[in-house]
Structures are given as C-alpha cells and as structure tokens.
C-alpha cells in the first residue's frame, strides 16, 4: 500500500500501469483520478492547501481500513497540493482485488473518505479573485453508506 502526498505532478497512466503490474494475483484493478475542473471557463488555477503530517496519517488510516474490509491485494493513493492548472490530475486512487465488486467498493470508499476526512482544502483562482471551495453536503452524506 503506497500513500503519496506531493506538490509534484504525477503521471496517471504510468502509475496505473505500475500498480497493475505489481498486483500479483489480482483479477480486478480499479483506478479513480480527479482532475481540476473549470466549470466557469475562467479558472486560472486551483490551489490546494493541506495539513502536513495529518494528511499522510489520515490517508494511511483510510487505506488500511479499506484493505481490511475488502481483502485488497493492494491499494494506492496519490494526492497533490500546491498550485494546479485546469485539467491537471489532482489525485488518484487504485485498488486491486480478486473480484471486481471488491475493487470497485474499496475505490469508492477511499474516495468518499478522502473527500471528507483527509485534510485538504481547495481554492479556485480566477482573474476576479480567489474562493475556497465549499464542502458539499452530498460528500458528507456519502460516508453514511459505509
């Protein structure tokens, strides 16, 4: 299980391939990648603040719980912080299991918990100024299904 919290960009395709190559015995690999969206067409950057130390601990705890609940062969989480441009990957998770139902459920669980329990905060920067992204009720509610 690898957890990376970094300012540097990551190569989604290469990470996905390396993860699949390393998951000996897996029948199913699920990946999720979140990209910087520019819904308004005016976004110049996304700034991501985080809480060094707590971030790694929180993600490792979430990943460990996923691994135990679904007997994962492996799991991966990468999350960036700092200044990102539109369409850049913000983060990814990957899960490997024997069957697809476990790989899908674990990836969704990781995403739901990363969204609302890992200490990251997003700020959208436009020419008009900068705004902190508000947490969505739907994201908090999503935790209720696990």
């Amino acid at each position: 299980m690898r957890v990376l919290v970094q300012a540097a960009p990551f190569d989604f395709g290469a990470e996905a391939q390396a993860f699949a190559d390393g998951a000996a015995g897996a029948g199913a690999i699920v990946t999720f990648t979140g990209l910087v969206r520019d819904l308004s067409g005016a976004l110049t950057a996304m700034e991501i603040e985080h809480y060094p130390g707590m971030t790694e601990r929180a993600i490792a705890a979430i990943a460990e719980e996923a691994r135990q609940r679904w007997h994962l062969i492996d799991a991966l989480a990468i999350h960036r912080h700092g200044r990102l441009r539109p369409a850049e990957p913000i983060m990814m998770v990957a899960t490997a299991a024997v069957h697809r139902a476990e790989a899908f459920a674990a990836a969704e669980f990781l995403m739901d918990y990363l969204k609302s329990r890992a200490p990251f905060w997003k700020k959208e920067v436009t020419a008009q100024g900068a705004d902190w992204v508000a947490a969505r009720d739907a994201d908090e509610a999503a935790l209720g299904r696990w």
Binding site: Y51, M91, L114, S116, R117, A118, P119, K123, W132, A135
Partner: protein
Amino acid sequence: MIDLLYFAWVRERIGLPRERVETGAATVAELVEELRAREERYALAFADLSSLRVALDQELAEFDAPLAGVREVAFFPPMTGG
C-alpha cells in the same frame, strides 16, 4: 504551552498559520472561548463552530473533547480533498 494551527479561511481570517499559546482551557470549546475573547479576527474566525472542524494531535475530534496532554490543536473548515 500548546501549538495552534489554522488552515484555509480560518488561517486567512486570523492572519497566521500557527502560534503557541498558554491556556488553562480544559476542552476545545473552552479554548475557542479564550480565543474569541482575544481579538475581533479570532471572534470572526470562530463565529460559527458548525462550519469548523478540529483535530487534536492530528486526529479529528469534537469540540467538547478534553485538552489534557494535547500538544497540537488544528482548526479548519470542512475538508474538500479528492
């Protein structure tokens, strides 16, 4: 002495990312009361606790949690990672 950390708009409203304080507060809620009484910027940052989260030594906690033995308290808005 206890380390206080502020993130996102909490950090911006208070105007600094961290500070060390001497406190006799027994719980997070009592600490928040002390901070609110300090200055207007603290009162503003802590105006609505329902829009804030707190972590004690890097673990999420409730506002009624005790502070005994805690070295680091962080205040921040609901997280928006992923």
